[in-house]
Every structure is written in C-alpha cells, then in structure tokens.
C-alpha cells in the first residue's frame, strides 16, 4: 500500500510542477504588474470574508501570452486570498469595451470555480481593476485600483 501512496504523491507533485512550469515556459512574458488596492470590493467580488484589519491588498500580476497570440494567455495573480504558495493561476483573453468606453481593451482573467477578474489596459504599463459591470472601481485617499508595470525578471 505504501509504495502505491508514494507513487500517487509523486505523480501529484509532478503534475502540479508540470502545470506551473507550463505557465512559465509555454507562454511569453508580457510583464509583471504590482499595486495596492482597498480590500472591501474584492471581498465582496470574490465572496470572501473581509478580515477586520484589512486596509489594503498587495497585488502582483504576471501575464504571459500564448505563443503566436496577442489576445490570449496565462497569468499568475498573488494577493488577498491568493497567497505566494497558492496563487490564482488561469487563462486570460482580451475583450473589448468597458462601461465608459466601448473600445477599451480589457483583460478577462478566468479561473475555474471563481469569478473572472477584469483589468482595463490603460496603456502598456498600467492596468486598472474593473467591477463585474466593467466600471472602474473608485479608490480612496490612500489607495487606487491600478497595477503598474515593475522592472522585474521572472
């Protein structure tokens, strides 16, 4: 029985490693984007409890594009309930149109079993979180809803 269990564990480890490796090797890196946002809206959006002392969320989004495509790819998102050791990993696609601008370029970040997240591409360096109606979230005196490109090698 033990050898079987060991084999099973090894198989799961290999699979996990393989899927993470796929994110980083079969796609081209678009960039790494960091930012800090307020908490409340994301707790509501992701159906999570709002921690009592949560005043901000630190985000890091890494975008990769599929080979030969500029409109689809994979991503890794760290922040809030998506911890370093268990990031949100999924696929993205470009959609067109926000509430304020029907020509806006919007990244739709999909993941199995959870709400998609929407990010407006303001330019090559700045992304802006949108709500589920694709309206810009409104920040506060301390934090906004932007993610800014950082110079980091992955």
């Amino acid at each position: 029985m033990k050898p079987f269990l060991l084999l099973l564990v090894a198989f799961v480890c290999l699979q996990t490693g393989h899927s993470l490796a796929q994110v980083k090797t079969t796609s081209d890196l678009i960039g790494v984007f960091d930012g800090r946002t307020p908490c409340k809206e994301f707790a509501r959006l992701l159906n999570e409890n709002l921690p009592a002392n949560c005043i901000k969320i630190k985000w890091r989004l890494t975008l990769y594009k599929d080979k030969g495509s500029d409109t689809t790819g994979r991503y890794e998102l760290i922040g809030f309930v998506y911890k370093n050791e268990n990031p949100r990993v999924g696929t993205w696609r470009i959609t067109k149109g926000s509430k304020a601008n029907r020509n806006a370029i919007v990244y739709e970040l999909k993941v199995a079993g959870d709400e998609p997240l929407y990010l407006l591409k303001l330019d090559n360096n700045i992304l802006y979180f949108l709500d589920q109606d694709k309206r810009l979230f409104i920040g506060n005196k301390d934090f906004s809803y932007t993610l800014n490109r950082i110079k980091k090698r992955v």
Binding site: R36, G139, S144, R149
Partner: protein, 161 residues
C-alpha cells in the same frame, strides 16, 4: 427689408453657434468636485510642485477641489513614509490655488478630457486625464500616463467626504 432679415438671421445663427460652442466648453467641466489620492513622488511631480531635492518624499497625499467655473484648490502633503501606516513621519504641506482649463483628449479614449491646472506655484501645468467621471490619472506633457510603483498609482479618486 429682405436684406435686413437675412442679416438678422445671420446674426441669430452666429449667436447660436457661439452659444453652443460655449456650452460645450462648459460641459467639458464635468469633473468639478473633490478628488483624493496618494501617488508616488517621482521627478516630474517633484519638479512641478517645486519640492526641494534634499527633502525626502516617498509619496504625496492629494486633496483637489475643482470648482466652477475654472478654479482649483489643492492641498498636498508629502514626506517620508511612516512604516506600517498610511501616513508620514513628518509631512510637509503644500497649498496651491489656481485655475484650470479642459479640452478633449483621445489618448486614452475618444471621449476623455484633459485637465490642465495652472498656478504660479507650479513649475509647469499639472496635467490630469479624466478616465471617467470619478477617476483622474496624472500625465506628462506628452500626455503619457505617469507610471506608478508597487505602492501607489498616479490616480485621484472622486470623494464625497
């Protein structure tokens, strides 16, 4: 008599066109209101606000009132970030009043508006692009959006406070 009528009609049409043009300029001032936010303190913003090079400026907290017809009042605080808080160790206040102009700008989208804030206290006009009726983003003179960092973006948010 017909000549007088044509002249009168011409005058009326001219007046209508001019009034329409004026009302469109006024309509662009859609974002009068109160905006707040915290931004980085990179060289461009430092120079516009004339923050001395020897002073620590980790970030800036902004409170901007835009009021009719074209006046603004800015209260900003900058300084060294106080660890584990959203405040400063020892903040320095800046108060600026002046006027602003608006014009359509297609850098971000076809219906965006560029706000130019003018004051003698600024080294050069402070530029903001309206992303929607609640969000402004700082830009440089070439209308490139200023890129923030992991801590802060260059955004002002409409506030009701």
């Amino acid at each position: 008599m017909p000549v007088a009528r044509v002249t009168l009609l011409g005058l009326l049409v001219s007046c209508f066109i001019m009034m329409n043009a004026c009302s469109q300029t006024s309509a662009n001032h859609s974002s009068t209101g109160f905006y707040v936010g915290s931004t980085p303190c990179d060289s461009l913003i430092r120079s516009i606000l004339k923050i001395p090079a020897d002073q620590t400026c980790d970030f800036i907290k902004w409170e901007l009132h835009l009021s009719h017809p074209d006046n603004f009042h800015l209260q900003a605080v900058y300084g060294a970030s106080k660890p584990n808080t959203n405040g400063f160790i020892n903040g320095t206040n800046i108060t600026v009043t002046g006027n602003y102009t608006t014009r359509p700008d297609t850098t971000i989208n076809s219906s965006a508006t560029l706000y130019q804030l003018h004051s003698e206290k600024f080294l050069s006009p402070l530029l903001l692009i309206e992303l929607d009726s609640s969000i402004m983003h700082f830009s440089d003179a070439n209308k490139n959006l200023l890129v923030g960092n992991g801590g802060w973006g260059y955004v002002l948010n409409r506030s009701n406070e």
